[in-house]
Amino acid sequence: MAVIVDLAVQGAQMLLVLLLAPLLTGLVRKTKARFLRRRGPPLLQPYRDLVRLMRKEVVLAESASWLFRVIPYIIFAATWVAASLVPTFRTGLLFSWSADLIAIIALLGSARFFLALAGMDVGTSFGGIGSSREVMIASLAEPAMIMVVFTLALVAGSTQLSTMAGALLYSEVGLRVSLGLALVALVMVAIAENARIPVDNPATHLELTMVHEAMVLEYSGRHLALIDLAAALKLLLYLSLIACIFMPWGIARADASLTALGLGLVSYFGKLAVGGLLLALFETSIAKMRVFRVPEFLGAALMLGLLATLLLFVSRSL
């Protein structure tokens, strides 16, 4: 019986992240528009965009290969699997032991690897710009993320996300300096990985300012829909990650009752809404950086992560 409940919860989680991701993107866009004193698109517009794109015919470049057609599915699969393993409203997911936080980061890394290959596939210079800048950003964002993972794992005693969420919620961890530093580093990395201002502008029309958009320039139809959905999932994943580790209040335990699950769901929606609003506020109040300032930004995140890990190596209570 317990196994069936666990399976149902895991399945619900997978569906939930898939359904919520476009809503989150819609919320961020609407809030940004409001801050700029525009009305903005409706909240459900991303869903309509996805459906519209899915129905359209794919226009494929003549020099594109079979890999180009397969890559959107690979990216979507990797991101969806990763997003399903991050606890949202309940810890103790059934399959959480199959991939810990390092494996989740690596799954996102493989999605990015294939996306960069897609940029190179058609043989245009814009794809090359996107791919080369993306791997430069990744070469610093991923180590910073790994250092954050180290910090969290050393504090919580495990790299499994469910165990981490439980440890940070229920044991006497308290407010620790290394966690504060890890939070700052994680936010910086999340901004870089999700291609948000100040690292990359997701709404730009100028090709020379693009990183993520330049790689998917040649995609159309259902392929583009999958890639957009995967990007929205990635944003949801990072917000859920920050929420379940640094704001774990309200998340239901592994053996919780139905009311606790409901409470977990409500608090999760609240955290996502708050996260989306803060993201929109942050993006509106800061300008995009020059491309070669991004390594300094991410280098700072790497140093903060390294400092946080170092503090934990050096002292037990930091």
């Binding site: 407010l175 290394s178 504060g180 903060l304 390294l306 400092l307 170092l310 503090l311 050096v314 002292s315």
Partner: protein, 220 residues
């Protein structure tokens, strides 16, 4: 002092180190002064927390001095004057941001090792605060050494002094903390004024205020 008290003290001290790193990262003078204002604000919070936890009301005075003087008065004054004198441009650095960050990391590691080994017998949680304070001092020195602009060097000196105040308040029972803070603040005020006097004299060949007024009238 147990548990949450210590954690908040550590968190505030750690934030001070974080803000020192962010100061090293800035390359615009305007943003640097804002960072310094936040540095002083966090210091004021930290000292106020120590006053609350140690039950030492005279530390509230130090916190007030840090807040009023260093978090509000000096940054506002610096903002106005640098815009007037036209030196609100980029800070020239001797070493790049990446190298400065790496050096900063090394200094923090060094102060951790030194403090935690040298004070092996002392109260374990005060030692870590002292280690953070030493890191802030060293990072302030690093900023003074790696910048060419006089104002940024002054900001580095002031953040160095913030680190000293942090160390002093963290160690329970250090006497004359308030008096020393006031003395340091007056010293800094004189340094800042001195810089601008030299600058004014360079530009206008005089520090006579009346001459400045006449010039301003002409320029309008």
């Amino acid at each position: 002092m147990r548990g949450l008290d210590f954690d908040i003290a550590h968190l505030l001290a750690g934030s001070l180190v974080l803000i020192s790193f962010l100061q090293l990262y800035q390359d615009r003078l305007y943003a640097l002064i804002n960072m310094f204002a936040i540095h002083a604000l966090v210091l004021a919070l930290s000292v106020a927390w120590q006053a609350h936890v140690q039950d030492a009301p005279h530390l509230y005075v130090t916190a007030a001095i840090a807040l009023g003087f260093k978090a509000i008065v000096i940054p506002v004054a610096l903002h106005r004057i640098i815009v007037r004198l036209g030196i609100h441009r980029e800070i020239e650095k001797v070493v790049g941001v990446g190298a400065a960050m790496l050096l900063g990391m090394g200094l923090v590691a060094l102060s951790m090792v030194v403090m935690l080994r040298v004070t092996a017998g002392a109260d374990p949680l005060a030692r870590e605060d002292l280690a953070f304070a030493l890191s802030v001092v060293l990072l302030g020195l690093l900023m003074m050494v790696t910048r060419r602009n006089a104002v940024s060097q002054v900001v580095g000196f002031m953040s160095l002094e913030n680190g000293l105040v942090l160390a002093a308040t963290g160690a329970k029972g250090m006497p004359l903390v308030v008096e020393i803070s006031v003395a340091f603040s007056i010293l800094i005020a004189f340094i800042v004024i001195g810089i601008f006097l030299f600058r004014i004299r360079e530009r206008f060949d005089t520090v006579d205020v009346q001459a400045l007024d006449i010039r301003r009238g002409e320029r309008q």
